[in-house]
Symmetry: C2
Subunit: 180 residues, 2 copies
Amino acid sequence: MSLKIKNLSQIIRDNFDEIITEHTFTKGEILQRDNSFKHNIFIVHSGLLRSFYFHDGKEVTALFALENGLIGPGDSILKNKKSKYNIEALETSTVLILNYKELDNFIKGDAIKERLIRHIVQLIYIESVERLENLIFYSAKERYDHLIAHFPDLNQRVNQGHIASFLGITQETLSRIRGK
Amino acid sequence: MSLKIKNLSQIIRDNFDEIITEHTFTKGEILQRDNSFKHNIFIVHSGLLRSFYFHDGKEVTALFALENGLIGPGDSILKNKKSKYNIEALETSTVLILNYKELDNFIKGDAIKERLIRHIVQLIYIESVERLENLIFYSAKERYDHLIAHFPDLNQRVNQGHIASFLGITQETLSRIRGK
DNA sequence: CGCCGAGTTGAACTGAATCAAGAAACGTGG
DNA sequence: CCACGTTTCTTGATTCAGTTCAACTCGGCG
């Protein structure tokens, strides 16, 4: 689904207070556009975000992030290039904003903070591997069921189209799956 | 394909000399079996390794690693549980062995080493995301072509069956793709 | 009231899986 | 160096999950 660490929002406040800003976005607002060099990471305090990008002219949802979730222009941050990701608030959301470069400077020389960030990166990595294996081995229906099992109210909060592209299927297929 | 960092092998020697061991394995040898708690990471100095696991009774190749590549029981290391991965030498290979727990202790308190490991984890993460997107958007043939473009001699060095399961397709499909 | 975006449904098509059989390549022992 | 069995690879016929494209429904809302 998206990385979720219990109390992430509090952990970030406790450790990176000097460099975070807090902001509330309303439903539909774009927190960050693609083609940007602003390598910001958003930690969701409340609400719901998604990241998406365009592939073959179609929107693809890369990630959802809810409370204590973390979202950002993933590989672009790490490759230090323009981002292909857009970040959008799907609901009115309060988020902590952390700029990756500032973060990188801020933790330099601090073994404990380096370690904390490393652990978070490791968790993000695990997420990705699990999603990869999920995609290889399970059918569209199984992936959908799995997603809803982990996030029961997703259907009430997010468009079918977003869910479909997150699952890597078409909206028509998702509709048929849902229609039993 | 697998993580490959130029000079990784040298970087590891330079920074983790006290805790690495070096070993040469012959073709077909299993460096580490599944269901193990030995959370070892292998850095390939020369040769070729693969990690694989069983899904529905079938072998699935998770990763290949060649020179300066890194391989290990991925998420199991990070989740501190038994590994489902087997690591096998596909050719006679000289590898550096790094135990994750020792590593974790060794770098504790050392901001520079923590940072180095974090950067490596970040690269591994990027690999995974790229592989995920690759899988979502491209056909079996495209994925195969892409793989071979990045690793031209793979066919001479690895079984078709291993390549197929790495790509997430059956061996029959791979054979048809290759037969033009 | 009529439009608009979101979701559903239908029919035809297709990439890849499955199952089953052969063909090639390979290595080990006589 | 050949003969054998085993493992690897190919080929064919069939099936199926998911795509595509197009039309249709539904619930706001201006």
